[in-house]
Amino acid sequence: MELLAQLGQGFVAAATPMNLLMCLLGVVLGQIIGVLPGIGPSAAIALLLPLTYGSSPTGAVIMFAGIYYGAQYGGTLTSVLINVPGESSSVMTTLDGYQMALQGRGGVALGIAAIGSFIAGCLGTVGLMLLAPPLSKVALAFGPPEYCALVLLGLTALAAVGGSVLKGLATGTAGMLLGTIGIDPQVGVPRFDFGQLWLLDGVDFIVLAVALFGVGEVLASCRMGAADPILNVGRVLPNREEWRQARMAILRGSGIGFLIGILPAAGATIASFVAYIAEKKVAKDPSRFGKGAIEGVAGPESANNAASAGAMVPMFALGVPGSNTTAVMLAALIMFGLRPGPDMFTTNASLVWAVIASMFIGNLILLVLNLPLAGLFARLLQIRYRWIYPPILAICLTGVVSHANNVEDAWLMLAFGALGWLMKRYDWSAAPMILGLVLGPIFENSLRQSLTLSHGSGTIFLTRPISAVLFALAVMAVTAPLWSRIFRAKTV
C-alpha cells in the first residue's frame, strides 16, 4: 500500500509539464541516438550533462532515463529496416527482424518490437519498484565465478545462432579471438597489436557490427544486374496468430532482461542474446529462427528494454552502475549533489519515485509514438535500394570514424565488411562473431580472476551455488538436443 502511495506521488511529480517535456525529449533523443551507429546513450548523456547543470535534478534524470530506454528502441529501427544494429543489444533483432522486412512484414516487426518494449519496460519498472533492495543484494553476490558461468551460458548460444553449427562455432571462436586484441586487462601488456598503436584499444564492437551487418549486407545486396525490388511495408499491428506466437516471448524476454540487467556489466546485450536462445530452445520448430520468426524479434527486444530498467536497480539501491549508461547517470546524480546508495529510497524518495513513474510514462510515449510511426519508418523499404545503400554506407563510415575519432577504424570496417560479404554469400552467420567479441573478454577475465581466487582450483565454479546452477544450465543447453533425441527414440 505504501508503495502505491509513493508511486502515486511519483506520478504527481513526473506529470508536471516540464517533467513531461523532459521525458518526451529524452525518449525522442534516445531513439535518434539508437538509430545512429557509433553514438550510444552513455555518450549522449555525457554530452548533455553540462547543459542540465543548474536545472532540476528530477527533470534531468527523467530525461537521461528516457534517453536510455529510448535508445534501445532506436536500435531496433535500423536493425529491422537496413540490417545495421545501432546498439549491441539490437544485434539479435537483425536475425529475424530484417528477414521479416524482406518478407514484407517490416511493419509488424517494428510493431511487435514497440509493443514488446512497452510491456517489458513496464514490467521491468514494476520489478524495479518492488524488488530493487533485495535483488541488488543478489547482484552483489555475483563474483568472477558467477560471471564466468553466466558468460559460458551465453556462449552456448554460439552454435545455436547460425544455420550451420560448425560454421557458427568457428565464427564465434573467431570473435572471441578478436576480443584478445589490445591491452591484456589483467597484466597490462599489449597482445596481438602487430605493432599498431591504434590496435591497443582492441577491435570495437561497433566497428565489427557495422562492418559485418551494414557493409557486408550492402555488398551482398547491390550485386550487378540484380533486381531492385520495392518491398511491401505491410501492416503494423500483429494479427491474432502473430500475437499468440509473440506474447510468451515478450513475457520471457521481460523476465530474462530484467534479471540479467540487474547484474553489473552484463546488461542489455547479454540479455538479448540469452532471450533469443531461450526462444529458439522453447520453439516447437526452431528452424523458423533466422528466417523471420516473430518470437526472434519479440524476445530480444523485450529483454533489452527490461534490462534498462533492471540496470537501474543497483544504481538506485546500491549506488553501483549496472552499465556504461547508468555509470554516467550516477555521475549526474552526484553532480546534482545527491548521494546514490542504500538510503537513496529514503533520503531522495521523491526523485526516485518520480523517475520510476516517468519510466511508465516514457514507455507509453514510446508506444504512442512508434505504433503510428512504425508504418512511416517501414516505408523506407519502399525506396529503391539503389537510392538507399549509398547513404547506408555513408552512415556506417561516419558512425565508425566518429566512435573513436579514428580513420584506421574505417579501414578495419572495410576489411571486416568484405569478410562479412563473403560470409553472407556462403551462409556463415555473422551474429556469433559479434557475440564472441562481446563475451570473450568477459569470459577470459572472469576465468582468470576465478582461478586466482581459488588458487588454480576449478572446483570454485561448482562449490558456489549460483555459479553451479548457471554451469548446470549451460551443460543442459548444450546437451538438450542429445537428450531430446534419446527421449524421442525411447518414446517411438
Binding site: L36, I39, L47, S164, L166, K167, A170, T171, T173, A174, L177, T180, D184, Q186, V187, V189, R191, F192, V215, V218, L219, A220, C222, R223, M224, G225, A226, R386, W387, Y389, P390, P391, L393, A394, I395, L397, T398, V401, S402, N405, V407, A410, W411, L414, A418, L419, L422, M423, R425, Y426, D427, W428, G440, F443, E444, L447, R448, L451, G456, S457
Partner: protein
Amino acid sequence: MNHRIAPGELILALFFALLGGLWVVAALRMPLWQGFIPQSGFMPLWYGITLAGLAAAILARLWLGKEQPRQEEPIGKALVVIAVIAATVLGFELIGFAPSIFLLLLVLFAAVERLPLARSAAVAAGVTAVLFLIFRTWLRVSLPVGPLGI
C-alpha cells in the same frame, strides 16, 4: 572428389584456419601459465587451436562434399563498391570528411548506379549536410578535416 568447391567458401575456411594458426604461433611466444594463474597467452592459444580445428573440419566437409554448394552470383559491382569505399577512406585525410562523403555518394549514385546526375548531386549534398550537422555540429564529434576546413 567429383564435386566443385566454391572458391569463396574455400577462401573463408582457409582464412579462419590461418587466423587460428597465427594466434597459436603468437600465443606460444607469450607467457601461458604462472603459478596457478593463466597468463596472457593461455586463452588466445586455446581460441587459436579451436578456430584452426573448426576451420579444418569445415575444409574436410567441403572436400567430402558434405556442404551444400551455393549458386555463385556476380561479384563485379561489390568489388567496385569496395574500391569506392577505400577511396573515400583515403580521402578523409586528404580532402576532409564532408567532401569525401559527398563524393562517395555522388559516385555511387551517378557512376555506379547511373541515376540522374542532378538528382544524385542534390541527394548526396543533402545526406552529407545532415550527417555533418548531426555529428559535427550537434554531437561535436571531431571528424577528419581537409583543406576546405570541413
